[in-house]
């Protein structure tokens, strides 16, 4: 859930607070020097419409010698104005000049720390500047506590910067220590409750964090942000209904702020809670609303969440639409280099490609998802979450691609031989990825905490997660799942746990128990919402059953209607009737996902026609293969070629690859 909250809370709003604060501090410095009280008040209350106020256009930023005679205070003052006007590089240059002029001036370091924290996201550098500022500050003014108001304010600001830098660098205990130090000197500011609650949450002290956030909300400290924080904490604590109410309040408060408000954050978070409690319709509504808002469309999390929800429901066209909409929204910002969303976008698109049978494209995208840098800032999703999700999907895509290499390419000894090295490499890589993912999930992600179905911030694809769990000895998995189910009161989640166990049994030779569990899952899966689970259960059952079996045919038809690309992805067979013209060519269908069978009346029929084709004044015979369905609910598929092999490849491609835009 950790989602867009932090964008609002730390990235956007707080830095502005930093800038304003630094501005005020500088005003104080100037005030001390000039001693003109009226001017100070005017500077403190800058009116954006004041025609007499100094603005950045009057500041020279290019004349190399223009700054030679300026004092440090003047340089800092100008830098502040420039940063305020979003002339960031000009502002930075002024600060660097000030730094070179006097390397012992702590205020310069303080402003540079704020600049790197707010505008660049280079937290390591921000920390470096903050610590240097703190050292110089104490060298000049002595050790705290201070009685002077200005010194107290500056020291408080430095501690704030330090806590934020540590927080961004995942040093939560360090951040909390600084916050403790902050309060020990009697400092307080409106950001404090939210930040402390966040740090406590990161340290796993959820109940304490809830208390802090509640007190903060009561004290009126940044109500939107604090309520959002409280909502997240309540959700983590299992109080989902309460958290939804809190999010509702947060949305209302943010909405009331007009263009300054950022309601997409609590909306996105509420969507995540709804998804967690299996209220997919409400989750969809929340995310759709979030993506339609100005502050929601430009950040990937709401779009990503919506896409992943649609993938669970096999609504690939919508996935495509959502990601396209997001991309067009981001295109408004030509200078954003995409670090904050590129990997997550590749993940969503890669998964859609995988499920629609475009495995080569899926592999490319998922590799990008793993390799691309992802800017997580302080969002709850971590690099490991993304890596784990992408690695599983990539392993699945590699295996699916291997199957398609067998199924969709021209048969023949040499074709198989040529594909052998690639298949071997794919298989080894897939196994290796699965192994690494298991390690990551267990060792890096708190003992597989993501096994808790739809765990917030997890990037795993829960319906197919069982593929990773196959290698775990059944006895160990049973114990782990027992612990999970005992702690999980959501009845729809039980479906997932049963599926994992069933898949594990099937992989470890306990077919009877495995089939029983998977069949139970298939029977109790919900329409529309659990489509991907059903597809996965069907895949598992079909792999176990004999294609000549009547049950197999029934399941095959179900799978075909839901997600026909899976036949080629998994190497499953679709039983079809065939016309007599194909009798002599049955051998050529051996490697394809079709199983020609005229012993039963089947819902699918394959027929062969030959038709003359004229091209470049030359007439030649063309082979046409057509797959039709008896009830014709999905139309017919056709493949053409100059010989039967080509026609088979063509029809297999058209039947078992889905169009994500259709």
């Amino acid at each position: 859930m950790v989602s867009m909250l932090e964008r609002v809370a730390h990235i956007n709003r707080q830095p502005r607070a930093i800038a304003i604060f630094i501005f005020l501090v500088l005003c104080g410095v100037m005030r001390a020097q000039a001693g003109a009280f009226v001017a100070e008040v005017r500077a403190d209350l800058r009116d954006p419409l004041d025609p007499f106020a100094q603005d950045s256009s009057s500041i020279s930023t290019t004349d190399e010698h223009a700054d030679d005679n300026k004092t440090i205070e003047e340089l800092l003052w100008e830098a502040n104005i420039l940063l305020d006007d979003q002339r960031l590089l000009d502002g930075r240059s002024k600060l660097l000049k000030a730094l070179q002029r006097d390397p012992k001036e702590y205020r310069t370091y303080m402003m540079l720390a704020g600049y790197y924290m707010q505008h660049v996201g280079h937290f390591r550098l921000a920390l470096k500047y903050t610590k240097q500022a703190l050292t110089l500050f104490e060298a000049k003014n002595g050790k705290p506590p201070f009685t002077d108001t200005r010194l107290r304010a500056e020291h408080a600001q430095l501690l704030y910067l330090l806590s934020q830098a540590r927080l961004n660098l995942d040093n939560y205990q360090g951040s909390l220590d600084v916050l403790d130090e902050y309060t020990s000197y009697g400092y307080y500011s409106i950001w404090y409750p939210g930040t402390r609650a966040w740090v406590l949450m990161k340290l796993g002290r959820v109940e304490e964090a809830i208390r802090v956030a509640r007190l903060g909300a009561l004290a009126g400290a940044e109500p939107g942000r604090t309520l959002n924080m409280l909502g997240i904490l309540l959700s983590m604590h299992g109080e989902r209904e309460s958290s939804l109410n809190v999010f509702q309040d947060a949305v209302a408060i943010e909405m009331s702020l007009g263009p300054q408000g950022q309601p997409a954050t609590p909306l996105n978070n509420s969507g995540e809670v709804y998804k967690e409690i299996f209220q997919e319709d409400r989750a969809e509504a929340a995310w759709r609303k979030a993506t339609s808002l100005p502050d929601g469309c430009e950040h990937v999390l709401a779009s990503l969440n919506l896409s992943l929800l649609y993938i669970d429901q096999l609504r690939f066209k919508r996935v495509n639409e959502v990601m396209n909409q997001f991309e067009s929204c981001v295109a408004q910002f030509p200078l954003r280099n995409g670090e904050e969303h590129r990997a997550l976008e590749s993940l969503a698109r890669g998964r859609a490609d995988l499920h629609t049978g475009r495995t080569a494209a899926a592999i490319q995208r998922l590799e990008k998802a793993i390799e691309d840098r992802q800017w997580f800032g302080k969002i709850g999703t971590s690099a490991e979450d993304l890596k784990a999700g992408a690695m599983i999907s990539l392993a699945q895509a590699l295996r699916a691609h291997n199957q398609r290499l067998i199924n969709l390419h021209k048969s023949g000894f040499f074709a198989r031989l040529a594909a052998l090295p690639q298949r071997a490499a794919n298989e080894i890589r897939a196994a290796w990825l699965m192994r690494r993912t298991r390690q990551l999930l267990i060792e890096e992600l708190s003992n597989f905490e993501d096994l808790y179905v739809r765990n917030t911030d997890s990037m795993l694809e829960y319906p197919t997660l069982g593929e990773v769990l196959r290698e775990i000895p059944a006895r160990i998995l049973e114990r782990k799942l027992k612990l999970e189910t005992a702690a999980d009161d959501r009845s729809p989640a039980k479906l997932f746990y049963r599926l994992y166990l069933g898949e594990n049994y099937l992989a470890n030779g306990r077919s009877t128990e495995g089939r029983r569990l998977v069949t139970e899952v298939l029977d109790s899966a919900r329409e529309k919402y659990d489509n991907l689970i059903k597809v996965h259960a069907l895949e598992l059952l079909l792999a176990e059953l004999n294609p000549a079996d009547g049950l197999y045919q029934r399941y095959a038809e179900q799978l075909f209607m839901l997600n026909r690309a899976k036949f080629a992805n998994r190497g499953l067979k679709l039983p079809v009737n065939f016309d007599s013209a194909l009798t002599a060519h049955r051998d050529q269908f051996e490697d394809t996902p079709f199983m020609l069978d005229n012993t039963n009346r089947l819902p699918f029929a394959l027929e062969l026609r030959k038709a003359p084709k004229t091209s470049a004044g030359k007439t030649e015979e063309q082979w046409i293969l057509r797959l039709s369905q008896l009830n014709a609910s999905i139309g017919t598929f056709e493949g053409r070629g100059t010989d039967l092999d080509e026609a088979i490849s063509s029809v297999v491609e058209s039947v078992f690859t889905e169009d994500p835009t259709a």
Binding site: E64, S93, R124, D170, N171, A474, R479, L483
Partner: protein, 766 residues
């Protein structure tokens, strides 16, 4: 009593020290390979676990190779190890951990142990094959070579900064990454035959003298291989034989080493010079760095590829919001305005005065043209990572001043440029005139000198038929090329000397790279009477910058057409081909950029690194996936238990059987193992009798008094029908005496000595 060899005539361990040296080298080598593999594919299991496993594997494999064990026995051992592991894994799954933290722990531990076992088995098998099969060494070399190639393959497509490991090392030594790459390649190349020579069977040392004498032999041999070769008649080369009569070879060895390393350095340098002088343009989109009147840095032959080698870091010192080409940024290095028959070349210094043309180590002061309007000042700091002959800046520079370089050898030069950059909206110049009214007739003619081929004019007129102004005509021509031509680095045009290289592009297949596009545009513009020239330098995408820092790569080098617009100056009229066949758009290496940003930041004296030394979360955590230290302790305990069991078997195995002959043999083995633990072991080639004498000298008389009987039992088991019980008792008594005679601390230490374990596998040793 007939004696037959009890073990197959396998390779003898020729010389213990040489053997140990080879084993040690192979273990080190395999561990290095493991590190490299881990670098390429993160293994997920700590190297602290895997490296000992590999090391042990090499040792065990080598020891087993010299035992009497046959191949099927060896395979059975490996299989048994796997089965035991699997059984333990199953057993571990039954351990009823109930706490959520521990429930998955056995699985994780066995995942790591499984990989360690695989590494161990693999190293064991390789070592076994290495010693047993002479061809295996060749295979091993091939595998190692393939691995080296894979490791170094990152540099392909001219990514000379890859592998990062090597290039970082090169930067640290102030070398170019390419030089380091070539040097690494040559060293590997030299190493492979050297290693092959050392380990190949003819070269195995055969009973060389021990100690310093061996090295004397080696260094005094004229023909080094003679020492390592087994003579055909199996005679042993000894010190003092004909080998020693040759003149000492060590001066030759030193000279050879100097030659080899000199050669490597020379070749590396030569390749670098060739690259930087001759091939640079071909790896930089055809845009090289030639400077001087009448010369052109552009080449028309197929470009070799697009190099991602970092060329420079540019730091914008201020905002440049008015950039009309946003997010693209043109950094001009030179201008080609002289038409020289078949290509554009650099003109005399009196032309193109807006280009600084200076080398990056010089300062420059230009004069401001007051007639140029709507330009904005932009300050840039440029830090060069590769050699450049000319400084490049934003159009156009008023001053260039040298910068103090950071304390890092990778930066070649640094300068700060003050430019008056374009600050207009492109649409606003559509109706402006081209050319400068102040130009003399000579200058005007210079910039308008057309190509003699009339087809340029015909095509140009056809394209610009509806365009009213010269600026719009220029736009129409670049748009035409953008729509109709294909960008490719390999146009493969067959152009002979003296022929126009643009013809096969513009009037042929319309396939080419920026050099073709720029020339074609300029020829057509000049044919229409529009003053034009070619600008060269870098074109970069600002959306891939960070904090105003831009990492320029060789693939960003570019050539573009320019038109002089009155009141604005020289403006790029660049093509943006819609059809792109090659030149993949690669992402900037942000890690490298951030690293360079960190170096370019305020210096050490201003912002010391130690400010954040003690901060948690700063350095990336070391890659270690071991759950905790308990695993290491557990492994150590396991090893200790295994060692103890084996030792107990060696010492008291005699008690497990009632057969007097076996008891005798085992008792003898027990006492030999004890001697071995105490530091007295049987040497190679030493008979049991000789060993007995030696042992008696050290530990008292008649310690191994029944050696003759044991020999008979071993070599003629049929000849010895009965063994007197007293013989066994005598041995046991000797054993007890030995124990009494030696200090307890020696026994305790001896218990941890693994040397006697070898006896389990090597019956010939006791």
């Amino acid at each position: 009593m007939s004696v037959h060899p009890a073990r197959p005539p396998f390779i003898e361990i020729p010389n213990r020290r040489i053997f140990m040296l080879v084993v040690f080298l192979r273990a080190c080598f395999m561990c290095t390979l493991l590190v490299l593999i881990n670098h390429l594919i993160p293994l997920g299991t700590s190297l602290r676990l895997l490296m000992p496993a590999v090391g042990c594997g090499v040792i065990v494999g080598s020891v087993l190779a010299f035992s009497t064990l046959r191949t099927r026995g060896f395979l059975s051992l490996l299989l048994a190890a796997y089965l035991i592991f699997h059984l333990l894994r199953i057993f571990a799954a039954w351990i009823p951990f109930a706490s959520p933290e521990l429930v998955l722990r056995p699985f994780v531990i066995f995942e790591h142990l499984g990989l360690a076992l695989f590494a161990f088995g693999f190293a064991t098998a390789l070592s076994w094959i290495f010693w047993r099969h002479r061809q295996a060494s060749t295979l091993e070399i091939l595998c190692l070579g393939a691995l080296a190639v894979t490791l170094l393959a990152g540099h392909r497509n001219y990514n000379f900064q890859n592998p990062q490991l090597l290039s970082s090392l090169a930067w640290d030594f102030g070398l170019q990454p390419l030089t380091a790459l070539v040097a690494a390649g040559l060293i590997i190349l030299a190493f492979v035959p050297g290693y092959l020579l050392a380990i190949s069977p003819p070269g195995r040392p055969q009973q060389l003298p021990v100690g310093r004498a061996r090295w004397r032999t080696l260094l005094s041999s004229r023909d080094l291989r003679a020492v390592w070769r087994t003579p055909a008649d199996n005679t042993v080369i000894r010190v003092g034989d004909q080998v020693q009569r040759g003149r000492p070879a060590w001066p030759w060895v030193i000279a050879l080493l100097i030659l080899v390393f000199g050669g490597i350095a020379g070749i590396s340098r030569g390749v670098f010079l060739y690259y930087s002088r001759e091939a640079l343009s071909r790896t930089a989109n055809g845009v090289g760095q030639e400077k001087g009147e009448g010369l052109s840095p552009l080449t028309f032959h197929s470009a070799l590829g697009s190099s991602n080698q970092p060329a420079a870091v540019v730091r914008l010192e201020g905002d440049y919001r008015e950039n009309p080409y946003s997010p693209m940024l043109y950094l001009r290095e030179g201008a080609l305005s002289e038409f020289a028959g078949n290509e554009m070349t650099q003109a005399a210094r009196e032309f193109d005065q807006d280009v600084s043309g200076i080398d990056p180590g010089s300062n420059y002061q230009g004069t401001e043209d007051a007639t140029l309007l709507q330009r904005v000042p932009v300050v840039q700091s440029v830090y060069l990572l590769t050699e450049h002959k000319t400084a490049f800046t934003l159009d156009y520079p008023l001053s260039i001043n040298q910068l103090k370089l950071p304390e890092d050898k990778r930066f070649r030069a640094g300068y700060r440029a003050y430019s008056i950059a374009p600050g207009w909206v492109l649409d606003s110049i559509a109706d402006l005139e081209t050319g400068d009214p102040r130009w003399s007739q000579q200058v005007r003619e210079h910039y308008l000198k057309p190509h003699p081929d009339p087809r340029y004019r015909e095509l140009a007129e056809k394209i610009v038929r509806d365009a009213p102004s010269n600026v719009q005509k220029s736009g129409a021509i670049s748009e035409y090329l953008s729509k109709n031509a294909t960008y490719t680095l390999t146009p493969n045009h067959d152009v002979k000397d003296g022929e126009d290289p643009v013809v096969p592009f513009l009037f042929g297949d319309m396939r080419g790279y920026c050099v073709h596009f720029a020339h074609a545009t300029v020829y057509m513009l000049r044919a229409l009477g529009i003053p034009a020239r070619i600008g060269t330098g870098y074109l970069t995408d600002l959306s891939q910058s960070k904090d105003g820092h831009i990492l320029l790569r060789m693939s960003d080098r570019h050539a573009w057409a320019e038109v002089y617009v009155a009141g604005r100056g020289w403006l790029p009229f660049d093509t943006q081909p819609e059809k792109v066949e090659s030149h993949a758009d690669t992402q900037i290496d942000m890690k490298l950029l951030e690293e360079l940003m960190g170096i370019l930041g305020p210096g050490e004296e201003i912002l010391p690194n130690k400010t954040i030394e003690a901060e948690a979360g700063i350095e990336p955590p070391s890659v270690s996936y071991l759950p905790d230290r308990s695993l290491i302790y557990m492994l150590a305990a396991l090893l200790l238990i295994l060692l103890s069991v084996a030792k107990l078997y060696m010492r008291y195995g005699w008690a497990l059987t009632s057969d007097p002959r076996t008891r005798l043999r085992r008792s003898y083995a027990s006492i030999v193992s004890l001697l071995c633990d105490l530091g007295l072991e049987r040497r190679f080639g030493e008979t049991r009798e000789e060993f007995r004498e030696r042992a008696s000298r050290r530990f008292g008389p008649d310690l191994l008094r029944l050696t003759a009987l044991v020999n008979a039992l071993k070599y003629a088991p049929g000849g010895v029908t009965t063994v007197d019980r007293r013989a066994v008792d005598a041995l046991r008594s000797a054993d007890r005496k030995l124990v009494r005679r030696t200090a307890k601390w020696r026994h305790a230490l001896g218990w941890f000595n693994p040397a006697s374990l070898v006896l389990i596998f090597s019956r010939s040793r006791w």
